[in-house]
Amino acid sequence: MNEMRNKIEELFKNGEIDAVLGYREDPATGEVKAAVFKKDEALDDMVFDGRCVQNLVNYLPTLVARYRKVGIVLKGCDGRSLVTQLVEHRINKNQIVALGVGCEGVKLDGKEADKCDDCATSMSPIADYEFGEKKHKKEPAFSKVEEIEKMSPAERWKFFADYFARCERCYACRQICPSCYCEICVADQQEPKWIEPSAKLSANTMWHLIRAYHLAGRCADCGECERVCPQEIPMRLLNNALEKAVHELFDVRPGTVPDEIPPLVVLSKEDPDTILEGKNE
């Protein structure tokens, strides 16, 4: 942590950055929140530990519009998230100084977050400076997705329908997602109205399917959608299922390789027709 603070101070002094996006511990409440540190500002209450759950990449687009150059503290998952944003040219790499920090897993409600179970990226795949330990853990796995896949179709639908029915369509998942940035979301579109705005099972199903599908090959599994969901809908399951699908179909792991173009943007004449067949056929 001190190592990072010193580096940030040095970067400020050299004029390499104008602001740093990091985590600040509120001295009064002890809460850890995202914060912007500007030049000549004390970095004493800047922290990095298991309480730094938020994905800071979501704040970047507004910051790069305001500052010439912005430093950002990145966990492994946030780093993947940043990669997906850079690939889509939403953020200019020249305006970013990526400060990767070795992450040992974050805590949610007192226990290790679900997203950390199968995570294989302790360090951001994109980092100008690296701090802390870079641990090469296991291969990324999809243990929860595989559990669901063992169920019969009807059981699977029952499982998801129970959750979808609870959705109140607050769109917190959309607002928090760094990759959800369409100017007019398909869910807000009036003509044609693909997704009804009312919170009922059929419309909720449409919303969750299209939300997941639009993130296919782009979602880097930062887990923010699930964290902010007031109804605790397991959206990461859908995201991970598609992550697994694009890995199996196109051998792509979103966010892990800088400059890799999302698989659904490019075409390949070499794709076999067997990808169109059902898995269980």
Partner: protein
Amino acid sequence: MQIEKEPKILAILCKWCSYAGADLAGTSRFAYPANVRIVQVPCSGRVDPIMIFKAFVEGYDGVMVSGCHPGDCHYTTGNYHARRRIAVARRLLEFVGVHPDRMHFTWISAAEGKKFAEVCSRFTDKLKNLSGTEKTLARKELAT
């Protein structure tokens, strides 16, 4: 809710090959089941998976999408894009519980009227076999 015996099928066909193939099936008088409702799109690359999702939510028993054979697309590459998108959409639908037999994706050229009729018959038969299983995703709020 009363269980419909005849499955309803939505066929999304591209204008240049598959729709013409369906046309040929008609003019050549190849019989195919009347369960199929056809939607014409300019190219299979136009098929947004939201159309497929919507079809299932609105209560269709099965969805088929067909375009020109790879390499034959009128717009050169539309069907390659479609192939990737539909492959992913299919995985998602299977994951949330749509039976894999309820989706069919294929290539039919303008000369393959016979193939179109065959595909439709086979798909309808498959769906008739599924008549006992639940139509997942289909909306239940409206008594249809």
